[in-house]
Symmetry: C2
Subunit: 365 residues, 2 copies
């Protein structure tokens, strides 16, 4: 295999997706897995097994790819840019449902305007903020209730309910912290849904979830569906968070040693293979850009510098590096598999450790 090369271990994907599907069933919710980590149909098909087949996407390019592959119920879980609503509604025509996210009056106005013009009803979820402070209305406010009411009244909008994402779980320090965020994610969403129902607003969908919160969630009462995504591949960040074991990580980058010096190694996987995601610096300051894997597991090497097309590996403690000569192969498990995977045109899928089929992720808008 020419390097750098994106490797996906099929058995790990199969195991990760089966476990999550079962876990979510046991907890009594529907699974609408996110496909943004891998952006390819094959992994999406493994994710939906045993569930209703709905998925979550982060781009309209993903939506188009999965729609073409037969997925019929898709939630586009980033608030839609006004100029792309028309395109999204057009894509929705061929599907059972393409649900859009919104979190402002302006967006509601635009969605209503476009769906009226296109003579369709837009399926809509209201995004609420449960502590991440990125997208989403503050569910404690009157404005949040008013916006939900406005959605439910809008003539060309099919108001589906509410959605939140506890992405701040990635900043937790331990499982106790994760459990607190997971509880809050559910309570805030379910509480807000109850408040809306108290106002006479129908809220069929209460959608929550992230891989870390799903890893520890004990109660999904009142939640209709969950949307984890990273668990398909996992990554070194999830290992650091304790939400998976190292052997669960399905994605890595194969690289070749191109320089072997007394004090450092140089390999041919750079920022355009690993991404410059800084990893869980709150847990492991100076962690570098990934875990270096040799034949005996994690090597005591830090991905210390990451130029565009190569990387410098330094020993974590003093150590003779000479046992990795020029030409040797190493694998690097990145901290953020979604960002690294998106840098490749194809993933080489290993079955029983042997390269077999290739999966091709979709790119762009």
């Amino acid at each position: 295999l020419p390097t750098p090369c994106a490797l996906v271990e099929w058995e790990a994907v199969e195991r990760n997706t089966a476990r999550m599907a079962e876990r979510v069933s046991t907890l009594g919710a529907r699974l609408r897995p996110h496909v943004k980590t891998h952006k390819c149909v094959e992994a999406g098909r493994l994710q939906v097994r045993g569930h209703f087949g709905g998925i979550t996407v982060s781009t309209l390019a993903e939506a188009r790819l999965f729609a073409a592959a037969g997925f019929r119920d898709i939630t586009y879980a980033v608030p839609v840019a006004p100029a792309r609503i028309r395109e999204a509604l057009g894509l929705a025509r061929g599907l059972e449902r393409l649900t859009l996210l919104l979190d402002s009056e302006e967006l509601l106005r635009e969605v209503e305007r476009c769906s009226a013009a296109q003579q369709v009803r837009a399926s809509v979820l209201l995004k609420i903020d449960c502590g991440l402070h990125r997208c989403g209305v503050d569910p404690r406010t009157v404005e949040a209730v008013e916006l939900a009411a406005a959605c439910s009244r809008a003539p060309h909008v099919d108001f589906r309910g509410i959605l939140t994402h506890a992405g701040h779980s990635y900043g937790c320090r331990d499982r106790e912290g994760l459990r607190a965020v997971a509880r809050e994610e559910r309570e805030i969403a379910v509480g807000f849904a109850e408040r809306l129902r108290g106002e006479g607003i129908a809220v069929p969908e209460v959608s929550i979830g992230s891989t870390p919160t799903l890893a520890v969630a004990e109660d999904l009462t009142g939640v209709s569906e969950v949307r984890p995504g990273n668990y398909v591949f996992f990554d070194a960040l999830q290992v650091a968070l304790g939400t998976c074991a190292l052997e669960d990580v399905a994605f890595s980058v194969l690289t070749t040693v191109i320089g072997s010096f007394p004090d450092r190694l140089v390999v041919d996987a750079g920022a355009l293979a690993l991404s410059k995601d800084a990893g869980p610096t709150h847990l492991q300051p100076g962690c570098g850009y990934g875990l270096v894997m040799g034949e005996q597991g994690v090597e005591p090497l830090r991905v210390a510098a990451l130029p565009q097309e190569h990387a410098v590996l330094l020993p974590r403690a003093s150590k003779d590096l000479r046992r990795h000569p020029v030409g040797a192969r190493l694998r690097i498990v990145p901290y953020h598999s979604g960002l690294a995977a998106a840098l490749f045109d194809r993933y080489v899928v290993l079955k029983g450790g042997e390269p077999g089929e290739e999966w091709r992720p979709v790119r762009g808008l």
Copy 2:
């Protein structure tokens, strides 16, 4: 234009490339510009104007693209992985010269073995380390001289000379620091070349250079060629270093406001549009992931969080954000244009501020 969209200002590219070409001529060296920042033929053609036409690449994919476009003299400026030497030598057959880089006996042995097997002579430069401590032999050592001697004796190697890159210039704090690194880059390279010549080794090529060191270099005596690359586009890091003005930056990412909250904005350019390069944190701690440009220039906004497909902009000081409503367009100048540009399939080229042609960068290996 659908967002996120990579914008290239043609006038800035034209001006940046003309200036660098003239500057290098005035200093008496040849320009072998690096194309890795943009990876597209159109920008490469602007770079070589007035010079001999040679270029520098960071991947064999770039080498193939430019070879197909008629470029005849290419230096592949990353030490070649042993398994890719055969491919590189095959590509060299159709060219005047494809020069490979090496910095170890192992690589020399592999290059000699492959070129003997393919019955060609491999054009080779020895990479030396002038302080960056990534690739390259330490030119103060006996081993460095011995490796150069071995290159010059190898029957299937055409030893072209030495190459260095003062990438540590990117860590400088001011122009005085840059000037010191630029002087050192030249002196170490020229000094080592002289030492080799003293040993009877022919050193036709002494190749140095980075955009920051070329911005301040006052003397290139003894240097045959220079290889800056970033100057085509520049970026927010170069602005912070003082090696260009903001109006020289040719690359930016157009984005749409999808959330406008009292305390923050959310835009639709995420880590897959800007890259997670952390920028010049040694100069500007907490600088975020780029400079946000509005109609009146730099906005007092920090790209504070960068999920995969969207970004959160926070005020640098307290400020009402409401003047950027949902749907508004902003441009973000990333800190590392090479990494951001590589995330796009195409750049929309603006002439006189109007979108015209598109340039398509090459991707992958």
